[in-house]
């Protein structure tokens, strides 16, 4: 942290700090460009959260407008004792960890494949990016109807075709979403997120100091040794960055859960559950309490994550 401040501090040194009242004035001139963005953010994101916090201690269901009042910690007690809520927490963890880990590992493998020179490398890279550029709802619909559908989806269509090649007219036709609902959501999200991880890791790979690797190879290191002790440590901060950004977005995923399973079959994660409590049950107090619990959980994870990012920006070379 300090090193960043010091490094960039030299930038501030371009002008001599003025004294006294002039100094205070110049401080405000410096701060002025920051204020619109800062005030806007506080008003639009922090105020609603404070309101959520207040509502979480209230007894407030839109179906019973006459019974609005103070509820104490009742809403929180209900959140922690509610089986659906506990399931949602578990689902959120499984979904996030599953998608982030799988897409990171896949992304790493593909980045390594694409880090070599071969015919059509640019074309393969472009093909790889496509999943990330499909609008999330559209992608989820595509998986639900065009790929997973048991009757005319591409997966079962391909099974029919392959079985047909061997003269069988009795191919397996699983109902993917009913048989493995959570995995169906995870696969669709891994497909969308692997390209992102791959691109970050590929950028990291291409920033490797090749001369050092060269030297190691001359000293007799094999591919695996080079990967273990040179490539992987170099990629560490890129892996952390990918995991952090991926987690931020996937913890909050709503589109895939809403579209593919509509939260059914044990795939309701926290954002979807809160959406339901609020939008369908109209239980504002309980929805707010659940949201506050999610925020608390996120803050715990974010504290660790931010430490990672700040280590990342410590090595901001050149500025």
């Amino acid at each position: 942290m300090t090193s960043v401040a010091e490094q960039t501090g030299t930038r501030a040194g371009t002008a001599e700090p003025p004294r006294g009242g002039a100094r205070r004035a110049s401080g405000w001139i410096r701060r002025a460009p920051l204020l619109p963005a800062l005030i806007f953010m506080i008003v639009v994101t922090q105020l609603p959260f404070v309101a959520t916090l207040v509502i979480s201690f209230m007894d407030w269901n839109a179906y019973y407008p006459d019974e609005v009042g103070f509820a104490g910690v009742d809403n929180f007690r209900r959140v922690f004792t509610d089986v659906n809520m506990r399931d949602a927490v578990w689902t959120t963890i499984l979904l996030t960890v599953g998608v982030v880990l799988l897409s990171l590992v896949l992304g790493l493998g593909i980045a390594l494949l694409l880090d070599r020179k071969f015919r059509g490398r640019g074309a393969v890279r472009t093909m790889m990016i496509a999943p990330f550029l499909v609008v999330p709802v559209a992608a989820a619909l595509l998986w639900k109807h065009a790929l997973y559908n048991p009757e005319y989806g591409l997966f079962n269509g391909a099974l029919t075709w392959i079985w047909g090649l061997f003269g069988s007219d009795n191919p397996p036709q699983p109902d993917w979403i009913s048989n493995m609902p959570l995995w169906s959501v995870i696969f669709a999200l891994v497909w969308q997120w692997t390209p992102f991880m791959m691109l970050i890791l590929l950028a990291g790979l291409q920033g490797r100091p090749l001369d050092v690797i060269e030297a190691a190879r001359i000293d007799g290191a094999n591919n695996w040794q080079i990967f273990r002790s040179m490539t992987l440590p170099h990629l560490r901060q890129y892996l952390e960055l990918g995991a952090l950004l991926g987690s931020i977005y996937i913890v909050q995923n709503f589109d895939a859960v809403f579209t593919i399973t509509s939260g059914g079959l044990g795939t309701a994660n926290l954002p979807y559950t809160i959406y339901q409590i609020f939008y369908q049950a109209h239980d504002y107090g309980r929805a707010s309490a659940a949201a506050v619990v999610v925020v608390a959980g996120t803050i715990i994870i974010a504290t660790f994550a931010l430490r990672t990012v700040s280590s990342l920006f410590r090595e901001d070379p050149g500025h």
Binding site: F49, W143, I200, G318
Partner: protein, 294 residues
Amino acid sequence: MSITDTAPIAATRDERGRPVKKRREGANVWLSLLAWVVGILFVLPVVWMVLTSFHSEAKAAQNPPAVFAPLTLEGYREFFSGGASPWPPLLNSLTASVVSTALVLLLSFPAAYALSIKPVKKWTDVLFFFLSTKMLPVVAGLLPLYLFAQNTGLLDNIWLLIVFYTAMNLPIAVWMMRSFLSEVPVEMLEAAAMDGAGLSKTLRSVIAPVVMPGIAATALICFIFSWNELLFARVLTATVAETAPVFLTSFVTSQGLFLAQLCAAAFVVSLPVLVAGFAAQDKLVQGLSLGSVK
């Protein structure tokens, strides 16, 4: 950069400088083939979506798949002229994305300037405050915003979405802009100050040329995130201000033969993002990684 760009090393790059052996060459062919197979597998669903969108409904729903069926615009015709028109939602999405992106740029540039060119005290704390708002799950602010909209008559109003999308993208934009602005060499700023250039002159002739690509990347990413957003649009809009992703959700539970139309809809809604994303592949990663991957 310079290492990979020089010819002698680049020529031996894939082999990392060793004389090429027969066995290795064979392994390389297999690895290249594997890369191609993986690439095709990843793009396949997208290709399938486009292909299906040009099939007739009957052919689209065939098992085994009718890959070589005759192409038709039936799905697109049905999407644009059958039932509810997709034009208002598409225009709403365009308005919300473009206006909120403009607002984000307007707010984030001065902020990033104050955090990099002439950093305020404790600028890292401010920077992390911006990022921390991004970690606040959006559902945590959804209810108060909904109640606010309901009581002020702003429900189903595209401007409320614009304000929210601006807040959603502002932290990312500040981070990205800061990292692009810190690429402006201090020497150039000093030289400009020495020559007596004022703020607007410095901005125009020193800073703008360096950060223009960065601003473009920031704008692109904000546009994509606004275009893609579903949760808030679904809760805060209804018929008037409905966006394209919300319009797409009408396909979630559709029954019967509608696959070609669905694929046409998914493709049309994704098209702006696909075009913009392919055009700026490198900028996209740099931006999404908040500028930390060069």
